[in-house]
């Protein structure tokens, strides 16, 4: 397992580097110049030339990439062209916010989806299965922004039960105002429950057909023991993979909720940087999301091996 982990880490680093090269190249191929995008329509030719010179934008692309990479390896992610803040500072402020929102949403979705999916499988083709399947499809196909607006209209504007915006400020401020997180978490959770419950349902059904269930029953195991000790555990294996691959979402995937609920997180940071051609920020976010993706995939594989004793990561 140790050798496997080391191999995976090396692979992850290579993948990350490749991702940064691709993103770096694509960014610089975008039409329109960075200088004018940052300095605005009042920029003079002199100020544009000065901006390009100061930020090395006149250098060949490989030189620009090497400068960025060597700076990053020394722990300096650069300074935002537009936001008057270091990239590291921006990430350190926004990442925890997105992680809180997405993390709570994913966790809550799993807590609800796993029993629901399991129930649906155990009660396959019964009215409860149909009802929950219908609800899952409705929420899964509902656009997140529309759901958010409906929740705000009902719970914030008409009934004044929750605030219309998410909590503002630092992480401690956010956590001290849980009421403000209810609607944004609900928006993400309701869509995610549908996603996870369907996977749990189909995985459970698949396991219920396995020979080991019949064997366990014939050996006298009780229904509850079969369901919880055997079927559920095996049914969760694909869910573990899904959760691992959700890590990038936890780090940067809540753009819609951030926009509707006034919650500046990583999604908006990336979007605004893309519009403003703010390369240092874009590359910083890419690095974070790339790292989250490879880490999530690695964690999923490790958990997979822990859950399923048949899986062993050995050479050949």
């Amino acid at each position: 397992m140790t050798a496997y982990l080391i191999r995976r880490v090396v692979q992850a680093v290579i993948v990350l580097l490749l991702v940064t090269v691709i993103v770096f190249t694509m960014l610089h191929e975008l039409p329109g110049g960075t200088a004018r995008a940052v300095l605005g329509e009042r920029a003079t030719n002199d100020s544009i030339a000065q901006f390009n010179a100061e930020h090395g934008l006149n250098n060949p692309l490989p030189v620009q990439y090497w400068d960025w990479l060597s700076q990053t390896l020394q722990g300096d992610l650069g300074f935002s062209y537009k936001q008057n803040e270091s990239v590291a500072q921006l990430l350190s402020e926004r990442l925890p916010k997105t992680a809180i929102l997405a993390g709570i949403s994913v966790l809550l979705a799993l807590v609800i989806a796993i029993p629901l999916g399991f129930l649906q499988a155990l009660r396959r083709n019964k009215p409860i299965d149909y009802a929950l399947t219908g609800a899952a499809f409705i929420f899964y196909s509902t656009p997140a922004f529309w759901l958010a607006l409906v929740l705000i209209t009902v719970f914030a504007i008409h009934w004044h039960v929750f605030p219309a915006q998410a909590p503002q400020g630092s992480v401690s401020n956010i956590l001290s105002q849980p009421s403000g997180l209810v609607l944004p978490v609900a928006t993400i959770t309701l869509v995610s429950i549908a996603f996870y419950s369907r996977y749990v349902r189909s995985s459970t059904l698949e396991n219920l057909m396995q020979d080991y269930v019949r064997t366990a029953r014939s050996k006298g195991a009780s229904t509850s023991r079969i369901a919880v000790r055997h079927v559920l555990r095996n049914a969760l294996v694909p869910v573990v993979t899904l959760v691992g691959l959700s890590l990038p979402f936890v780090f940067a995937g809540t753009l819609i909720s951030e926009q509707i609920f006034n919650y500046p997180g990583m999604g908006l940071l990336f979007y605004n940087a893309a519009v403003a051609r703010d390369y240092p920020v874009l590359l910083g976010v890419t690095l974070v999301v790339g790292a989250a993706t490879v880490l999530g995939s690695l964690l999923a594989d490790v958990c997979y091996a822990l859950l399923d004793p048949r899986v062993r990561y050995v050479k050949n």
Binding site: R36, V38, G40, R42, P115, L119, P163, T223, A227, Q259
Partner: protein, 595 residues
């Protein structure tokens, strides 16, 4: 095979109980409210993407914005002359740091007397604070977004200090008092020399600014501090102010909270306990909070104007914020393919005459907007606009536009591209077609509707417009002055925002219409126009301004299109004293809550 659900009630019950208790806990702390205690706290909603992020008054290009200068810095540091009074773009004497300037010796000298203002640490604001600023500007002018070669500080040959409150600027030539006060002096915010004239945080204060090297070192130190926005509310440097407000809290998402400067020397003292600028990630997010009563001074997105009545019933006043600007689409006169056609005045006139500005205001802007007829705005009411421009020389008249083209050798092909079959003007070859590429900014429904409407009207006289949409930044990047040796592909551009005469309130057009000016994207160049612009800058009275704008209105260096309000404000009825300055500056010291 199906299995009975083991302990089926328990799992569901646990989930339900947890969910309900979360909701109950949340409800206990739900809702937003601000209790008015004493003067109260007023919260203003900032438009998305326009948050303050730069506190140092020498602003670079990336941060040169209304959000930073008019709505952040000027709350703390007063300029010599602040513009915007009673909804007009004129000097606000009460908010200005200095008494009206006195021009003499043929307008080659101007004497400025500072009012008896003190800094918040009790030290007086003096001429030394002004010379400190000027010295830093000289050392750093290339980094100052407002710098234009030949303008401040280049045009100040010397400063003669008569006493701590009075100084005279010896200028390099005669200047129009109107222009020099509005576009030069109003940009200058004296800064506290006794606190800021240092080269490091721990170093002593000195007179380092009196040498170029010293001024550069001081500037670099201050810029370095300005690049730490998370320290804006705590860094002692930024706590010494002469404006009515002090920054008490600041977040890098743009949230800024101000408390009154108790030592403010100005005539109008703050009445509120606190003033908050609340950033929003989107107009929709702001609208949601507005509808729930969470801001005192918000705005309606133009597409949601139908909600104004409902919000008025909730206790808000609907008040469009009329700002001081113009809107236009530049032609690319340097285009190798179509530049020659654009250089023909009759072509520009014909294209202008198929833009139904009044119709667009009525139907697309729902009445919230006004036409642009020249470089001087017709709204708000102002002393600068001429009667000729107010009347609008080119009304919507497709018939006249078609006749104009025909009389200059064009064969009109409605719904196609008209063709030059006669003598169409210098550089326009026979067979040339009236077909142009128009790149416009995406994400704005009104912009999109306007270009579609124009395309439709233009097609009737055989002017074919090939539309392409791109993000705003891409449009302004694409619509750059063409350089020789580089591809020059754009023909007409429309970024939708036009030009705001904010920090430079005198509408002289030197940045957009002078030959070679940085924002003269289409490279329009006319020696008469240049002479007119210089006349506005150098000659007294409003005569040169009239000459300049009438010429521009006739010559059509760009296509004029409707301008719309900065925002459709919704202001709580209990919040009194709000005057919406056309320069977009905020004066919350005028505000108070009624009981």
């Amino acid at each position: 095979m199906t299995l009975p659900i083991p302990r089926r009630g328990r799992v569901a019950a646990v989930v339900l109980a947890v969910t309900l208790s979360l909701i109950a806990a949340a409800v206990a702390g739900a809702g937003s409210s601000h209790r008015q205690a004493g003067g109260g706290t007023a919260t203003i909603a900032l438009p998305p993407g326009t948050t303050p992020d730069f506190i140092f008054p020498i602003v670079d290009g990336a941060h040169y914005s209304v959000a930073n200068i008019e709505q952040f810095q000027r709350l703390m540091y007063r300029p010599l002359y602040m513009y915007g009074k009673n909804g007009k773009p004129v000097v606000n004497d009460a908010a200005s740091l200095a008494n009206p300037p006195v021009f003499k010796k043929g307008n080659t000298q101007v004497t400025i007397t500072l009012k008896s203002y003190n800094w918040s640490d009790g030290k007086p604001v003096t001429a030394r604070d002004f010379t400190f600023l000027l010295n830093l500007l000289k050392a750093s002018k290339k980094n100052w977004a407002a710098y234009l070669p030949g303008d401040i500080p280049d045009n100040v040959k010397a400063v003669k200090i008569s006493n701590p409150k009075t100084f005279t600027l010896i200028l390099d030539r005669a200047y129009s008092p109107i222009w020099f006060t509005g576009n030069q002096l109003s940009q200058l915010m004296p800064i506290p020399q006794h606190v800021w004239d240092k080269k490091s945080a721990s170093g002593p204060v000195g007179n380092y600014d009196t040498t170029t090297a010293g001024a550069t070192a001081v500037y670099n130190f201050l810029i370095g501090e300005a690049k730490k926005p998370s320290t804006y509310a705590s860094n002692p440097l930024w706590q010494v102010v002469d404006g009515p407000w002090k920054l008490s809290a600041y977040r890098t998402d743009g949230y800024a909270a101000f408390v009154p400067n108790t030592r403010y020397s100005g005539a109008v003292k703050p009445k509120l306990d606190k003033f908050v600028e609340q950033p929003f990630t989107s107009a929709q997010a702001e609208l949601n909070v507005l509808r729930s009563g969470g801001v005192d001074y918000g705005y309606l997105p133009q597409s949601e104007v139908a909600q104004a009545k409902a919000l008025q019933a909730q206790g808000y006043t609907f008040s469009p914020w009329i700002d001081w600007g113009i809107n236009y689409m530049p032609f690319n006169f340097a285009s190798p393919t179509v530049g020659a056609m654009f250089k023909q005045l009759y072509v520009r006139q014909a294209m202008q005459m198929v833009i139904d500005q009044k119709g667009y205001v009525r139907s697309l802007l729902k009445g919230f907007g006004w036409p642009t007829y020249g470089p001087v705005p017709v709204q708000p009411s102002n002393p600068y606009v001429s009667e000729f421009v107010k009347a609008g020389p080119y009304d919507y008249n497709p018939g006249k536009a078609a006749s104009l083209l025909k009389s200059h050798g064009w064969t009109i092909h409605p719904d196609g591209a008209s063709e030059c079959t006669g003598s169409c003007g210098p550089g326009v070859k026979k067979g040339a077609k009236l077909e142009f590429k128009l790149i416009y900014a995406s994400g704005d429904t009104t912009v999109s509707q306007e270009v579609q409407a124009w395309k439709s009207a233009a097609s009737k006289i055989g002017v074919k417009l090939d539309l392409s949409e791109a993000p705003f930044n891409q449009v302004i990047a694409a619509a750059a002055p063409c350089k020789s040796g580089q591809a020059c592909k754009w023909e007409i551009a429309f970024w939708g925002g036009g030009w705001l005469y904010g920090v430079n309130p005198i509408p002289v057009g030197d940045q957009q219409f002078l030959c070679g000016a940085g924002a003269n994207f289409g490279q329009y160049c006319d020696s008469t126009n240049d002479a007119n612009i210089h006349g506005v800058q150098r000659q007294g009275g409003l005569g040169p301004m009239t000459r300049f704008q009438n010429y521009m209105a006739k010559e059509l260096p760009v296509l004029w299109v409707p301008y719309r309000p900065y925002q459709l404000s919704m202001i709580k009825k209990t919040l009194k004293g709000v005057h919406q300055s056309p320069i977009l500056s905020l004066t919350p010291e005028d505000w108070s809550f009624s009981k």
